[in-house]
């Protein structure tokens, strides 16, 4: 009898240790984070191996933030989601109940370990002398930005333009609506995602200015030096791309511990350093200060201050029949 018990114990032990030795996580993210998470994943895997002896493999999935959220709702087995805006993770919480509604309170800084902003990418030498938001609506200028209905980055860009026009001296909501309307009248191509818009601007030579994620702009300059300049407008928006574990999925996969450690790693010194290297603004003040020359200081409005949070901004601006749809209403 004892022998059998020992045998069973040995088998269970062997099985459990075999199971723990190899863990796989799926990180479902948005378009421009490919390079960032490639670096993060390698660093985290090394650290996890050193700490626990387990091998962790992190698979990445990238697409427009909205379509990634929909994929998770429709059953894509994400352990963690790292999306472009809180509204998309809210949608997963609401529509599929895969994580609690208060998910954003579980990690520091609204569950956003790094931030970014929207900047202007212009052709080398800035031939149109684009310096700030009002320059975008000068006659003859073509502005490239994706469709805010499908692209997270485009939503931030739209809100940045709006915040500028509402908050400038003498600005108002009406002025902001008019200004945003004018900008989209200068948009010749409305791509579905940030990468498509960047490709159109950088490779196809479409347009004079690209409203871009700061990190996308930096990447474009790094990859093709001498072709583009980055222009920082006088103010922009504080883009907060949030992260969360997907509770129901990690509990089913029994990966909660490693998934939580993975997200914590994004806040660690090492993680923040990697984010800064990939042109995301780290939350850690010391690391941000060390990279100060990479991240010019400009006034950054938050979505809570100007728009009262994502749920409200989404309903007012991007829902069907919202302010954005009014722009493309045929004039009667």
């Amino acid at each position: 009898m004892k022998k059998i018990h020992a045998l069973i114990a040995a088998i269970v032990l062997a099985a459990s240790s075999a199971q723990a030795a190899d863990v796989t996580l799926l990180n479902v993210s948005y378009d421009p984070t490919r390079e960032l998470y490639k670096n993060v994943n390698a660093a985290f895997a090394a650290e996890w191996k050193a700490k626990t002896g387990d091998n962790v493999t992190i698979n990445q999935s990238h697409n427009g933030s909205g379509s990634q959220a929909r994929a998770v709702i429709d059953g894509l087995d994400a352990d963690v989601v790292t999306l472009a805006l809180a509204y998309d993770i809210d949608a997963i919480a609401q529509k599929a109940q895969l994580l609690p509604a208060n998910w954003q309170k579980r990690l520091p800084d609204n569950s956003t370990p790094y931030t970014s902003t929207i900047v202007f990418l212009v052709r080398k030498g800035n031939p149109w002398k684009i310096k700030d938001w009002p320059d975008l609506v000068k006659p003859g200028i073509h502005v490239i930005t994706p469709n805010p209905k499908t692209s997270g980055g485009a939503r931030w860009a739209y809100l940045a333009a709006w915040a500028y026009a509402e908050k400038k001296p003498g600005g108002s909501k009406e002025a902001a609506q008019k200004f945003v309307h004018e900008i989209y009248a200068h948009v010749p191509v409305l791509d579905t995602g940030a990468r498509g818009a960047t490709t159109n601007f950088a490779q196809r030579g479409i347009g004079d200015v690209l409203l871009s994620w700061e990190n996308e702009a930096r990447l474009a300059v790094q990859e093709e030096p001498g072709k583009f300049d980055i222009v920082y407008p006088s103010n922009s928006i504080l883009a907060e791309p949030p992260v969360s574990i997907v509770d129901k999925n990690v509990d089913r996969h029994r990966t909660r511990k490693v998934a939580e450690a993975y997200l914590q790693f994004l806040y660690s010194k090492k993680g923040q350093e990697i984010e800064a290297h990939n042109f995301y603004r780290p939350r850690d003040p010391a690391i941000l200060a060390a990279h100060a020359k990479d991240f010019p200081k400009i006034t950054l409005y938050t979505i809570d201050d100007v728009f009262g949070g994502w749920t409200k901004a989404q309903a007012t601006h991007f829902a069907d029949g919202g302010v954005f749809d009014q722009i493309y209403k045929p004039s009667k």
Binding site: S67, P188, D320, K329
Partner: protein, 283 residues
């Protein structure tokens, strides 16, 4: 018993052919078509009605939806007509003449079938963008193709071509040149021969091929999306609008557009089929 079996309405169904296996193959055909085609379509048919009738009508009569449907169907129709004309010429040339490199040209026709549509779209937009090989010179003439509705039509022409050519080729190959020779000896001009002898013989196949090209073009997404520009009311195709609706978790609105596209395509293809059998019967 036997006489009862013969007089039953199924008797005709049961004995149409000397070939065995009718019941088995019919059963298989019905099962297969149901599983592959009908069940997914039923899901599409059922989804939009959660909106209610008025909600459904509202969803599909939005100006933006109507504009997108107009572009998808209009663009597909123009592309199909263009392909009908030039596809006929290509098919004719490939069957009737011999020239060096003929096999290569013949293989080229299949390229739009084989190429992933996204690759085709990226290639076309790179070619026709204002810094592309063709788009550059054209933009000097102030002609813009990429990111306009014309770009959409170009992409649809590209993907539709093989349908017309591949449907016509075997028919042209089967057509004996003797009929044309006879027409010529009876004093018909070349144009008369073409109009009275050649085209009537090819018409049913031409209609089928054009119909296929049209049907394919209506639903085309991958190759169009890169060259369309995607501006609401201007260069936004219906399949993109479906994707955008899905992105906003508006599954019903997306299904409503899908259902309209399905119904319209079905009616058009049915009409083309009737027309085609009418043409075939007249011969």
């Amino acid at each position: 018993m036997r006489s009862a079996a013969i007089s039953s309405p199924f008797a005709r169904l049961r004995n149409p052919s000397v070939l065995p296996g009718f019941g088995l193959t019919l059963g298989f055909t019905l099962f297969y078509l149901s599983a592959i085609v009908l069940i997914p379509l039923t899901a599409l048919l059922l989804k939009p009605w959660t909106l209610g009738w008025s909600g459904f009508i509202a969803a599909i009569t939005e100006p933006r939806v109507l504009a997108a449907l107009k572009l998808s169907f209009g663009g597909a129709a123009i592309a199909a007509v263009v392909n009908a004309v030039f596809g006929l010429i290509v098919a004719w040339t490939l069957v009737r003449y011999r020239f060096p490199g003929k096999r290569l040209v013949d293989a080229l026709v299949d390229l739009p079938f084989a190429l992933p549509t996204a690759v085709a779209g990226i290639a076309l937009s790179a070619l026709y963008a204002s810094n592309g090989w063709l788009g550059g010179p054209l933009s000097l003439l102030n002609i813009k193709i990429a990111f306009t509705p014309i770009g959409v039509i170009f992409a649809l022409i590209f993907i539709g071509l093989p349908f017309v050519v591949r449907t016509l080729q075997p028919v042209i190959a089967d057509m004996s040149a003797e009929a044309e020779e006879a027409a010529a000896t009876l004093g018909a001009t070349r144009f008369q021969t073409l109009r009275r002898v050649v085209l009537p013989a090819l018409a049913p196949a031409l209609v089928t091929g054009t119909g296929l090209a049209f049907a394919r073009a209506v639903g085309e997404y991958g190759s169009v999306i890169f060259i369309a520009g995607n501006l609401p009311m201007k260069s936004e195709i219906a399949p993109l609008l479906i994707i955008i609706k899905l992105q906003q978790y508006d599954y019903e609105g997306a299904a409503a557009i899908g259902l309209v596209m399905l119904a319209a395509s079905f009616v058009i293809i049915l009409a083309l089929n009737l027309f085609q059998s009418l043409l075939a019967a007249r011969r």
